[in-house]
Symmetry: C2
Amino acid sequence: MKQYIPLLSQSTLFGGLPEVQLDDILAIAAEKTMNNGEMIFFEGDPADGFYMVAAGMVKIYKLSPNGKEQILHMFGPGEPFGEVPVFAGGVFPANAEAVKNSTVLFFPRKKFVDLVSEKPYLALNMLAVLSKRLRHFTIQVENLSLKEVPARLAGYFLLLSEEQKNTRHVTLNISKGQLAGFLGTIPETLSRMLRKMSDQGLIEVEGRKIRLTDYDGLIDLADTGRLEAAEI
Amino acid sequence: MKQYIPLLSQSTLFGGLPEVQLDDILAIAAEKTMNNGEMIFFEGDPADGFYMVAAGMVKIYKLSPNGKEQILHMFGPGEPFGEVPVFAGGVFPANAEAVKNSTVLFFPRKKFVDLVSEKPYLALNMLAVLSKRLRHFTIQVENLSLKEVPARLAGYFLLLSEEQKNTRHVTLNISKGQLAGFLGTIPETLSRMLRKMSDQGLIEVEGRKIRLTDYDGLIDLADTGRLEAAEI
DNA sequence: GCAATGGCTTGACTTAGATCAAATCCCGTT
DNA sequence: AACGGGATTTGATCTAAGTCAAGCCATTGC
């Protein structure tokens, strides 16, 4: 069960606090297995608990009236999702769908609230998790409204490069279509941008493997925004 | 001091919990007065505490390299802000500026964390506040990436109309320039959209007073997206 | 081996909205 | 009442990115 630790240890801020009893928290969880593409919940569904990914991967997204999909988050093993309505009340604000065959844990709200009242450090951990998520959203809003697609894309590559230790060689963990949704654009546009960026020698694309051939150029692109037209 | 209650009572979810001692929380706060336009903190500043608006109004925003401003939040009396780094660690992810002459309370992180360990219900209240903020961001991301400016604007009017009891007659509480920043656009575009919308009889604009002349039309616009060109 | 399906790429076209520049309005001061 | 400066509006233009329509791999199943 040790693979579930991320939920509980994500914050080292309050390290002086006693160790959480993993069994306590896992005791109140119910396990569900989901197939790739299966919906976990829909926007608007009443929420009486939250989830955590045990295995696989889950995407949280919104749809526009004409079907364009904006991915808000992708969550992997150990990451909780759908907590908002548990604390704020009401309904799920977005859709959740398994993007691989996955196992998720469900935590009924009542049980969790009871538990959290007993164990304050659990609440502090949860606060840290929500705070980090809030920060991610801050960045996402900034990206969507202040940066153009190439800048967002460059930023995404740099992020990947930090996550994966191989500084110059990253591998997409999602399909390009999904990546487009995550960046707030559409597959066609993403495809063109990838092409432009490789034309300019910033990257080399081979399927899901991306070589970052001009790291500094990417950094520059990521925050100053503009992708110059290729001048031979 | 009763005007500070919103922080503590925003969640009725956990109503069974004992009443918070307002004095406890206010005891650890320091008061600052700010002039209109004065900065409270900058993006990247190290954070050792969070704030709450006591009087006036504060905007939280990001800037693009070329100066465009995206407002993330506007906070009024009783609303806490800048809590994210307190729980997630690190630095402020955006700028905070007083948009009126204002008074803010500052809560040093260490003192607050100590207090929260003693009073679990305080943490639960904080969780509720952060969760609601997270939900707002969900909506903001959706708006920015999936909806066009007229739809966002219509949505904003409908929101205002709910907040202010007068169903057909709303008053902007911020300048149009600020509103543009909040909607992720620029003043020129906002101005044109307001014009289009009044040309179509959806609203009537008179300074900061807006009459919602076609409520159903606005609802339609807010979620199906498109503003038809005015015929004739 | 060869449909066939889904993911990706490409091209031609359209459009929402940003930029630039110039009025004009509005309001608190002097 | 005249002044000055910010806020707002308007017009002309430009551009990033979305839409529509085809074609192209590349895998999976038959």
